[in-house]
Amino acid sequence: MHVVIINGSPRVRKDSNTEKIIAAFAKGLSEKGVTFETYAVSERKTWDSIRDAYIRNDEILIALPLYVECVPGLLLEFMETLPGKDTHTRLSFLLQSGFAEGCQLRCGEAFLEKLPEYLGVRYGGCLVKGDNFGIRILEEEKQAQVTGPYQAMGRLFAEGDGFLREEAKKFTGPENFPLPIRLLMGLIFKTLAKKMFQKAAASWGCSVPLDEKVWETSKD
């Protein structure tokens, strides 16, 4: 098996959480002797080569971050340039998000489920997982901890059933958090998390409150 992996994130590759997830996933593929080539739609100059790879190959995986409940605008733009193919080609997706609960990604997943039909190709399933916001700002060791599970999903994908197996569906984790967890997390959001975000912002050179109302003209 040879997989064309397309990073659908609009963020530059070096800072892309999706890129780090793909790296872990691809390790899993390699362990099973599956070869791959990777592309990124954030590099617009390479769109012709990505499209060629999509046309020439029959195992395609698009990995993407959830942007406002669906596919990022840039990836939509790229996909509109793809020619129709037939069902010898299988298109699978890896959808990741910042929000942690599975329910947050279902609207995006529903779009991806129908997309292969529009392109004339076969659907290979969608691996769905949240809680990835901070990957790029984590230290290397922690990063490996967060992306590690994707390596196992690479091994699973190498077995040939895309993401259609039960193990891939279970990978999402909880659809919602139970009330006690929500209460605890809610408390953390108001205290520790705020401090942590403010600290991260300071390290980026930000000196104003993160919830500053910059436009006074906005309606109360």
């Binding site: 530059v12 892309s16 406002v68 605008g73 109302k213 906005s218």
Partner: protein, 170 residues
Amino acid sequence: MVLMIDTTTRQIGKGIAKELLRSGRNAAGFELIDTTGMHISHCVGCNYCWLKTPGVCVIQDDYEPILRKMSTADQVWLVSDTHFGFVSWQTKNIVDRIMPLVTMYLKFKDGQMRHVMRYDHQPDLGIIYTGNGDQAYLERWCQRTALNLGSHSLGVFSESNGREAVSCML
């Protein structure tokens, strides 16, 4: 104020605006933005509007005036062509870049994680589309997107039902 943002190639917003003015329903003000010829980039996911320049997008193009208007509007109507049954990438880019209206801070609302909004006022959101839009999916997406803004969906209407959409405008 009702704000209509038209990205369609046939610029159908004009006709809907005429219909609205003819109906005499709208007393709260109305504005149509036709994005033809405007430079509006996609969101690059830099997170600067949350963590480096809170509330301000670092991409300098024609988008900020649109976002300012969105932040004060009571209703925002996305007038969009459709591909893959969904809104066009031009419209999705406009929606992806609302992030300066959202802060990095988080909370739980109705059992789900949400970002805390930057401003107290949020616009409701509606869609008017051309072509073969997937009505059920667009409704779902519009509702979810409004949920993220802490507002409500005004509904999704095909171009041929534009009159119905007009009846939902203030």
